[in-house]
């Protein structure tokens, strides 16, 4: 039996990403392929699929076949349940855990400036995207949250390093400390605020760009006087 075909069969049979050592374990000790051979064959297999509706990719948990994103308009019709949309609270909390792990709930709240509800944490734990990896040795011994391998697998990542780069936080030293007097003198200060605050975004306007869009609109108005 050809090595490539065996790997292909196993990768399709597995319900999860398959690690290199699992792939080696498919063979009797005497017949195990060298890691280099295995690696080369997997790359070759991935190339074989380059024009197929499936792709063979490497994520944190190992190698897996998946249906390409281009097909989701059709494939998603197979599933009655629509994939969950996550609230901003869930996504922001996930982002903070991903970039700042291990982190306590208190620290997350500190960054978000608002309480993090139990249901948000629950959602992330239930999805197995985050887990408690320890407890901080401070009063109350709060849990320390970190992302899981499943999180990486789910978001098609091999490691945390592949996360989008976090926006840089400008060095405050470079900020010109303005004259204390200047600010109150700001001409805007005298103008009463008249900008209508009617939301321009429809409900569900947690839409990513809403804030920017609003800003643009408002800028165009003479409201700022």
């Amino acid at each position: 039996m050809e090595l490539k075909a065996i790997l292909e069969a196993a990768l399709f049979a597995a319900q999860q990403p398959v690690t290199m050592s699992q792939l080696q374990g498919l063979f009797e000790a005497a017949e195990q392929p060298e890691p280099e051979t295995l690696q080369a064959t997997l790359v070759e297999l991935a190339e074989d699929y380059s024009h197929r509706p499936l792709e063979l990719i490497l994520v944190a948990g190992g190698w897996r076949f998946q249906v390409r994103a281009e097909y989701s308009p059709w494939v998603s019709r197979l599933f009655e349940e629509k994939p969950g949309r996550y609230s901003r609270a869930v996504l922001e909390t996930l982002a903070i855990i991903a970039y700042r792990q291990p982190v306590t709930r208190g620290e997350i709240e500190q960054i978000r400036g608002v309480a993090v509800s139990q249901s948000v944490i629950r959602t992330l734990l239930d999805r197995e995207w985050v887990q408690v990896v320890g407890h901080k040795e401070v009063p109350g011994r709060p849990g320390l949250y970190a992302t899981t391998r499943h999180f990486l697998d789910y978001f098609n990542l091999q490691s945390l390093e592949q996360l989008p780069t976090l926006q840089e936080i400008a060095d405050l030293d470079s900020v010109a400390v303005p004259d204390a007097v200047q600010t109150p003198l700001d001409p805007n200060d005298e103008t009463p605020e008249t900008t209508p605050i009617t939301p321009s975004e429809p409900p569900g306007g947690a839409a990513p760009q809403s804030a920017e869009a609003d800003a643009a609109t408002v800028r165009a108005t003479p409201a700022d006087g």
Binding site: A13, L54, Q66, V67, R68, A69, Y71, S72, V75, S76, F79, P83, R88, A89, L91, E92, L94, A95, A98, Y99, I111, R112, G113, V114, A115, D153, Y154, F155, N156, L163, P164, L166, Q167, E168, I169, A170, L172, V175, V177, P178, A180, T183, P184, D186, N188, D189, E193, T194, P196, I197, T198, P199, E201, A206, A211, D214, A215, V218, R219, D224
Partner: protein, 266 residues
């Protein structure tokens, strides 16, 4: 259409520039539902502040505290006027902004200025940090995700024959376990267990097995000449034991006929 006004005799909506705000600005119309939606789109005071800043295209590093503070407090005031449940964090932020503003207004000696941090620094840092994570949340949401963008492949595997892998067992461990059983047993039973040689028990099993497979055994067929005297004794004991336990019948259908061994009828 005017927003319903609360009784002005009591608490003002908010303190704006030191004066109680008891009336909403006349040109400020907010449909009640809209405000609710509006508030829900904010993830907290930092988010609201960021919105106010971005809306005016102000550099986050150079926030005009007075403007932002006033706008912020106006919003809080209006939300209060709408009798909306407002998270404590929003009120806390209002107080914090007011504090920064007042510190900026205080004249500071020149020598102190160099050392003293801009009172806005901490706020700016928090806003920047929050903004970074707000963006990161969007970035993560945009990553190709299982179940939404890409799909796990499923191939049926029920034709795959899975070998069963059993634990290994050392005979010594089983014997050790048996010793423990013997130790636990009361002494009388112990004796009963002790009495029979294993060869007899083994022979009992094999006779039963043959009978249950449907064989009618001739009594004489139970003895194997090659086993010699010892074997014959074992066979005899096994048969007697089986008969005694009511597991077999030894029958002779006719006088001088063949003696047969068969399972005992129920």
């Amino acid at each position: 259409m005017d927003v319903e006004q609360p009784n002005t005799g009591a608490a003002p909506y908010a303190m704006v520039r030191g004066a109680p705000l008891t009336e909403l600005p006349a040109d400020l119309y907010i449909p009640p539902d809209a405000l609710e939606v509006f508030l829900e789109t904010f993830e907290g005071p930092l988010d609201l502040l960021l919105y106010l800043i971005k809306r005016q295209n102000i550099d986050i590093l150079d926030i005009p505290m007075a403007v932002v503070t006033r706008q912020y407090i106006d919003y809080i005031g209006m939300m209060g006027a709408m009798r909306m449940e407002l998270a404590a964090e929003y009120l806390l932020m209002a107080a914090y902004l007011a504090e920064i503003k007042s510190r900026l207004l205080l004249p500071r000696p020149a020598e102190a200025e160099a050392e003293e941090e801009d009172p806005r620094a901490a706020l700016i840092r928090r806003l920047q940090e929050y903004e970074a994570f707000k963006q990161a949340a969007l970035d993560i949401d945009a990553l190709p995700r299982m179940e939404r963008d890409v799909f796990e492949v499923n191939a049926d595997t029920h034709r795959i024959v899975v070998r069963k892998v059993y634990p290994e067992l050392d005979l010594a461990d089983a014997i050790q376990a048996f010793r423990d059983v013997l130790k636990r047993m009361d002494q009388r039973s112990h004796h009963q267990i002790m009495r029979e040689p294993l060869s007899v028990r083994e022979r009992m099993s094999s006779i039963l097995q043959r009978i249950n497979a449907g064989e009618v055994l001739a009594f004489t067929g139970l003895f194997n000449h090659q086993e010699g005297r010892h074997g014959a004794v074992v066979a005899m004991l096994a048969m007697l034991e089986l008969a005694k336990e009511g597991l077999i019948e030894i029958v002779q259908n006719e006088v001088l006929g063949q003696v047969e061994v068969r399972p005992r009828a129920a």
